[in-house]
Amino acid sequence: MQEISVLFVGLVVLYTVIAVADQISIQCGIYTPLFAATFVGFLLGDLQTGLIIGATLQLMTLGVATYGGATVPDYLSGAIMGTTYAIISGEGAEYGIALAIPIGLLLTQMDILGRMSNSFFQHYADRCAERGDYKGVERANLLGFLPWALSRVIPVMVGLIFGETVVNSINAFIPAWFMTGLKTAGAILPAMGMAILMRYLPLKKYYAYFIIGFIMLAYAGSMFSVMAAALLGLALAAIHYSKNKNAGAAAAASANGMLRIDDEEVEIDG
């Protein structure tokens, strides 16, 4: 079994802090299981396992996003720990996926705790506002990052420091048929990500495009790739847009009057 070094824990904790910042700000991707698992895989010298764990978790959670402040399972921490356990135990990607999911679900509570703690800073800011202390209000918002970061960093640190113990006890107790089942579960779990997206996208209205995408890859997967399907989708979207843009503008014109339209056109360019 591979050892977990202090340097590794330090780097991963630093990564987690940056990832949390990304998650609540621009969401460029550092916060996703895909990036996190790849990073851990890279650090432990097994990029492939990291990529596969990350990609599977990513596809599974495609539609799982925080809309309007709802809490979702913490798959970032789950991916970090799952990948670490999979690589140090040498059990392979499925093992990591199978562990990342329950860890993520368990840590849902930490997110709620973090968001609740932030009420403290809201109250602090309210008091500052009474005095007109704008610097205090600014400070309150910046300090609000602490509960966010700690709610992820603490579990990740604990999980990594006790990593080997965790892995050993899991291996001692889990039967072979269960691992076979988890392997299959890992293969079908991305279905959830697709299904959630289909719930958010207007599937009933535009199911034809869904069928086109499916058929391309189901029958001619060796000729096409998802990238090819995306480009075809882009072309179809462009056709739909150019057909509807004029209809939409005409409808808006009759509703708002022509003057408004001219006005807005300029502003969007500017």
Partner: protein, 277 residues
């Protein structure tokens, strides 16, 4: 526009500061009580400082008003902070009620469009393609989200100025304008989701029936009807389950893990059953 040439109190620097703060710090102070209320106040602070720094009474009033409940898609918030800047610049503290109305009136409709466009569709396209490439063991896919993010940052910069230049007029007309783009993006998203199912759900059944000398492999038979029928079936089952009132994504995970347990051990189970006779 006339109001800005007459009344330019905010510098380019101020507007840029608001943009950057909106990018990074809008959700730092997120809490269940006021959600992004604290973050919004932080974002708009460069404007408050510029206008009310030397007048504690006005500053107090402005802070209290801004600290109220706020929540929207972070990418769309730029339109609101932009409009807020224009209003406060033009009317000063007199704008209080209007700003409040703009904030509360716009955050809902903009979140409706923003969550679909910047979260659901964005992920369906950008992160699914990245994950698809990564699944084949290629880290190059990770560059895609970074490039897409750069594009989003540019869009958000534009949003700040669209909000600032159109001020109060903005209202829902901009959301209407985004509607055809959202529709078109949905088409792209659905095409990609359809294509993902056969390519990333790698489940094939190994179930085989032996009748005398002949062995029928179930997968071969299914492939003749429709290739990737099982992955499609599992997705449609999940889709249908998610439509049920009491099923959320967490419950669905357990259902799929259970299904995996059964499907993964199906051949063994069958052998057991056959062995009984």
């Amino acid at each position: 526009m006339a109001n800005q040439t007459e009344n330019k109190k905010l510098t380019k620097q101020d507007i840029r500061k608001v943009y950057v703060r909106n990018l990074f710090a809008l959700q730092f102070g997120w809490n269940y009580e006021k959600m992004q209320g604290l973050g919004y106040t932080y974002v708009i602070m460069p404007v408050l400082k510029r206008l009310y720094k030397d007048d504690p009474e006005k500053m107090k009033k402005a802070l209290k008003m801004q600290l109220s409940y706020f929540n929207t898609t972070p990418a769309m918030a730029h339109l609101i902070t932009g409009a807020d800047m224009a209003l406060e610049e033009e009317l000063g503290i007199e704008s209080e009620e209007t700003v409040m109305a703009v904030k509360t009136g716009l955050m809902g409709p903009l979140a409706g469009v923003g969550d679909t466009l910047f979260i659901a569709i964005y992920r369906a396209i950008v992160f699914s393609i990245a994950a698809y490439i990564a699944m084949q063991g290629n880290p190059v896919g990770l560059v895609i989200p970074l490039l897409a993010c750069a594009a989003v940052l540019w869009v958000r910069y534009k949003f700040t100025y669209i909000g600032y230049n159109s001020g109060r007029k903005l209202a829902t007309s901009f959301a209407d304008k985004l509607a055809p783009i959202t529709e078109a993006a949905s088409i792209l998203g659905l095409t990609v989701v359809g294509a993902l199912i056969p390519s990333v759900i790698n489940y094939k059944t190994d179930l085989a029936f032996t009748m005398g000398e002949v062995t029928f492999a179930l997968q071969d038979m299914l492939d003749k009807i429709l290739p990737c029928m099982l992955p499609l079936g599992i997705v449609m089952l999940s889709y249908w389950l998610l439509g049920k009132k009491n099923i959320n994504s967490t419950k669905l995970i357990f259902i799929l893990i259970g299904l995996g347990m059964v499907l993964g051990n199906l051949q063994n189970m069958l052998t057991c059953v056959v062995g009984l006779f």
